[in-house]
């Protein structure tokens, strides 16, 4: 009921504004009957009132405006000309419409007066296109609103006539039929209603431009600063009167600020109001029984945010109705009430607005999601299996994924949730999906109260203050030097890292990134601000951490738009300007994330590298290496052989194992070149790996443990046989390069090394995932190629311009521009453009449906099919190297 009332109030405010304009428009129109723009505007107003009136069930209003609209339509089409008589009739209509609106405002309904006479006359004009006889008798009273009521013929139904005079009811008598018989005389002109007796909705509200509100907010901000300065000054003063006055100033300013802030706030109800209708319609359409519950509709948000969440929320609610809630039969069978409930909740918490949309429907099946993701080529089977339930649910937010079996006109097209997520994140919010199979799904959205004011951390670097939005802030770390502090920052090459609870945190010095003077040795302590940018965490080293503050974000001038390390500027309490750092921009400048890393790609990235995901790892010891590791998924079996069982086949150690010969690789001696202590034992520990029908045993000194941990390979190793190192269980652990070792152990395992023909060729590997890139580099270098790496098409283009590249290898799905787009650009380059190219894809399906447009890669292969990839590269590279003597200096001179 409340909501309907609100809609009606909106309708009244809007209509009244438009109608005031309408009076003037009609008068103007009479002078310039051919002004089409004016006619259109009049037409629109009447049309809107008709439409809204109809929707809200005001039949009389609709009947009258419908006919007026028809006449206006004829005018607009040029089928009729506007005569003074016609104008009078239309103005009369406008007056009646105003009257009905006042009646609605006072009593909530149209009253019982049907204005049949006016309807008839309008209809007559409508039907009779040739002239305006029907209105001719009324000409005498033209343009005189006071004469309006007189123009009625004596009422045929006097009872209704009386009841219609409800327009004089005072505002407080709003209930229907409260009608004390009209105090107003019939025929009292509407204009004569004394404004003071009414505090109606139309009078109590005015429309103000948001620009003006912004300006007010700015000025209030300034006032607050001035107030602060005065208060500071007051402290030094003795004058009691002055102190009292500044206290009052203080209070008033605070209140003023709060109220000005309020002007921009709107209750979330503004968005929610449309949902009962949406839910009802969807229920009808699908034959489902749906109920919508709303909790916290009065929760207020900034206007800009309200607008930004409108579409995402609508989408989520539709989703819930469409494939969240089951059909009534299904629900009954599952022992649930046949009526499904969608619950909307909103509340303030911790300076943020929380919005929850939950349904008691079927929930989301994570396995189905995984299946779908594999089918669509978003994940490999292997990757999908490694996902946790929770990560699987997050797949919902990837583009191109929908579990709905059928595509309906409502949802199921697999576009949407990714857009929802992007839109929510754009306004600094976050979205989280929880689902229990069979019990329902809950989406939790957290958004800031307002975009204009954000909580931020104020820090200092090289004497300047900067603000960092708190959304990006994870934690603060302060290292005391002098003790062990400084030592905890370690260097990998030139890159500083810090071990934060066992994980390597890449560090970025703000002074370096911004090119400020500032030494890394800051004396007593080091302040690290741990920040989150696009799923990557990094530490920002600053000189000092000051305080948190609510800051007003002001955009930077266009003249500074090129600088993506700033999100804006703000004015601090002392009136100085401070720049707001853009964490994503900083991460890019600091090299923490790639230039154009998209959300999806980085999600896939972290899955690849296992940053956020637990992975079972087998830890063991071999030779000089105390801690080696291999992903458990790759391990076939762990075996123990007696020393006597080891035989020699040629120079190679083998054992008989399951009626076959298992080649052995003594890892310890291979890696360190010394004999392990395995020989002295009675038994040797062997890790058996298999691929297809082939097996290999790697002899290790001791199996240490199996751990389940989130692991990221942090640094690649230059030592053959070692893939790289990561922190596992708090200790640095080397991961062995299984492919390499296997190849060493059995030269023919994958069909031998690449031929020497292509050796030394330069290969450019373009691949978004650092992990995969590293893997490919190892494979290629092993095969004797020289490798250049690029994370995206920009870097690839850069490399092609500056380096000699014989073969371009590119993943088809790159972050930002796709591999296909990259190829199109490459082919457009002079000279270098002819470089042979190999396209890699994650799925066979993608390979089969590669686009027909644009240039094609010379070869296509699956991304993890190493043998086939090397084969293709060899083929392409040898072709180039044979040609090479004739084409001198390709690309090298650019």
């Amino acid at each position: 009921m409340d909501e309907t009332q609100e809609i009606i109030e909106e309708f009244l405010i809007e209509s009244n504004e438009n109608l005031t304009q309408l009076d003037q428009d009609f008068i103007k129109l009479e002078q310039q009957p051919d002004d089409n723009a004016l006619l259109s505007s009049v037409f629109r107003t009447i049309h809107t009132i008709k439409g809204t009136g109809g929707v809200l069930g005001f039949g009389i209003l609709e009947a009258i405006t419908h006919r007026a609209e028809s006449i206006l339509s004829q005018l607009r089409e040029g089928e009729r000309r506007l005569t003074p008589a016609l104008t009078t009739l239309l103005l009369e209509t406008v007056d009646i419409v105003k009257k009905i609106l006042r009646e609605i405002e006072a009593s909530g309904n149209e009253g019982s007066e049907r204005y049949l006479d006016l309807v008839e006359r309008l209809q007559a004009v409508c039907d009779d296109k040739s002239g305006a006889e029907a209105v001719a008798p009324e000409q005498a009273s033209a343009g005189n609103p006071g004469g309006l009521e007189r123009s009625y013929p004596p009422a045929s139904e006097p009872v209704e006539e009386v009841a219609a005079e409800g327009d004089e009811h005072p505002h407080f008598a709003r209930q229907p039929d409260s009608a004390s018989p009209a105090e107003g005389e019939q025929g009292e002109p509407p204009a004569a209603v004394p404004a003071a007796t009414r505090s109606s909705v139309t009078d109590a509200n005015i429309r103000v431009s948001v620009d003006l509100l912004d300006k007010l907010m700015n000025l209030v901000g300034e006032l607050v600063l001035t107030r602060n300065q005065i208060l500071q000054y007051t402290d030094t003063q003795e004058d009691a009167a002055f102190t009292a006055t500044s206290q009052r100033l203080n209070l008033i300013t605070t209140e003023l600020q709060a109220n000005v802030m309020k002007t921009r706030m709107q209750p979330i109800r503004v968005v929610w109001n449309q949902f009962p209708r949406v839910v009802r319609d969807l229920g009808q359409a699908f034959g489902k029984q749906l109920e919508l519950q709303m909790d916290g509709a009065n929760t207020e948000l900034d206007k800009t945010i309200i607008e930004a969440i409108k579409d995402p929320l609508t989408h989520i609610v539709r989703n819930s109705c469409d494939h969240g809630i089951e059909m009534p039969e299904v629900r009954a069978a599952a022992g649930k009430p046949s009526k499904g409930t969608v619950l909307l909740r909103a509340f303030h918490e911790g300076g943020q607005v929380n919005i929850e949309i939950s349904d008691d429907g079927a929930g989301i099946n994570p396995d189905k999601l995984k299946q779908k993701a594999v089918q669509n080529g978003i994940l490999t089977l292997d990757q999908a299996e490694r996902l946790s339930q929770r990560e699987a649910l997050d797949l919902t937010f990837l583009p191109g994924l929908s579990t709905a079996k059928q595509v309906t006109n409502v949802s199921g097209r697999g576009v949407g949730m990714d857009v929802v997520k992007t839109n929510i994140e754009k306004i600094g919010g976050s979205i989280d999906l929880q689902s229990r199979l069979g019990h329902g799904t809950t989406l939790k959205i957290k958004i800031p109260l307002t975009l204009a004011i954000i909580p931020a951390l104020v820090i200092e670097c090289a004497g300047e203050r900067f603000a960092i939005p708190q959304v990006n802030l994870v934690e603060l770390v302060r290292l005391e030097t002098g003790q062990e502090g400084q030592q905890q920052i370690e260097l990998i090459g030139d890159t500083p890292v810090y071990r934060l609870r066992g994980k390597l945190l890449p560090l970025v010095y703000l002074s370096d990134v911004l090119g400020l003077d500032g030494s890394h040795e800051t004396g007593e302590s080091v302040n690290i601000i741990v920040l989150q940018a696009d799923q990557k965490t990094f530490g920002l080293v600053v000189d000092a951490v000051h305080d948190t503050a609510e800051i007003v974000v002001k955009p930077l001038s266009k003249l500074l738009k090129g600088l993506n390390c700033y999100a804006g500027a703000t004015i601090m309490g002392d009136g100085h300007v401070a720049l707001i750092l853009d964490v994503m921009g900083l991460a890019q400048l600091g090299g923490v994330v790639g230039e154009s890393a998209s959300h999806v790609q980085s999600a896939a990235d972290s899955r690849d590298a296992g940053a956020a995901e637990k992975q079972a790892v087998l830890l063991f010891r071999a030779g000089a290496k105390d801690r080696l590791a291999v992903p458990l998924a790759l391990v076939d079996r762990l075996e123990e052989f007696g020393v006597e069982a080891i035989e020699l086949s040629g120079e190679r150690q083998v054992v008989q194992y399951r009626e076959r010969i298992l080649p052995l690789m003594p890892l310890g001696s291979y890696l360190s070149g010394t004999e392990g202590d395995a020989a002295s034992d009675e038994k040797v520990q062997v890790i058996v790996f298999s691929e297809g029908t082939k097996r290999i045993g790697i002899v290790v000194d001791e199996i240490l443990d199996i751990v389940d941990e989130a692991i990221t390979i942090r640094s690649r190793s230059s030592q053959p046989g070692i893939l790289g190192s990561a922190v596992v269980g708090g200790q640095v652990t080397d991961f062995i390069d299984l492919h390499y070792l296997i190849e060493e152990a059995s030269g023919d395992w994958f069909g031998g090394k690449s031929g020497a023909a292509a050796e030394g060729a330069h290969i450019l590997v373009t691949e978004g995932s650092r992990f995969t890139r590293g893997l490919m580099r190892t494979h290629l270098e092993m095969a004797g190629y020289r490798v250049h790496e690029a994370a995206n098409s920009e870097e690839a283009m850069e490399c092609l311009r500056s380096e000699t590249v014989d073969v371009l290898v590119s993943s088809l799905d790159l972050p930002g521009e796709s591999g296909g787009q990259l190829l199109t650009r490459v082919r457009g380059l002079p000279d270098v453009g002819k470089v042979p190219a190999l396209g890699l894809s994650l799925s066979a399906e993608e390979l089969s449906r590669r686009p027909e447009t644009g240039p094609a890669f010379d070869e296509y292969q699956l991304k993890f099919d190493r043998a086939a990839m090397l084969h293709s590269i060899e083929k392409l590279a040898s072709a180039v190297l044979e040609r090479k003597p004739e084409t001198v200096g390709t690309g090298a001179d650019v």
Binding site: N218, L219, E464, L559, L560, A569, H576, V577, L579
Partner: protein, 150 residues
């Protein structure tokens, strides 16, 4: 009130707000000037172009300050010499030109106008709309759009 400022009286005279930078005498159209300020504290913008000297808080609005010496490729101001702010209206908020000294608003006759001589170096010439020949000196008229195009 713009209608009270008669810059185009019979279209023969124009009004310019004048200032000097390194001994050169410049003018900008008076209607483009929002206000003139003494030296203001500024927040530098690391990584920004050299001409951008910093950000100023002008009654709650953030104003970008351009150093005209750098923009014109002149030498740095002598130590201790504080620049003045000539704040101009700009479609994207206000911008401030940092200049050595602020002069009067002067009215010049169109008859004294000449386009900038070809011999002025290209970089400086593109910022000049033209030159007014005053009795004792030359007034160089700046094109604000060009100045702010960096």
């Amino acid at each position: 009130m713009p209608e009270h400022v008669e810059t185009d009286k019979h279209n023969t005279t124009r009004q310019y707000a004048t200032f000097s930078v390194d001994g050169l005498f410049f003018g900008v159209e008076v209607l483009k000037v929002q206000e003139v300020l003494r030296f203001q504290a500024m927040t530098p913008v690391p990584r920004a172009a050299r001409v951008i000297e910093g950000l100023i808080n002008l009654r709650g609005a953030i104003v970008t300050a351009f150093d005209m010496r750098h923009r014109l490729g002149l030498d740095d101001r002598a130590d201790g010499q504080m620049p003045m702010n000539m704040v101009l209206r700009h479609d994207d908020g206000a911008v401030s030109l940092l200049v050595d000294e602020i002069g009067d608003v002067i009215e010049v006759s169109k008859d004294d106008f000449e386009p900038p001589p070809e011999t002025i170096p290209e970089t400086a010439r593109e910022m000049l709309e033209g030159v007014y020949k005053l009795p004792n000196r030359l007034l160089l008229v700046l094109s604000t759009e060009k100045v702010l195009q960096t």
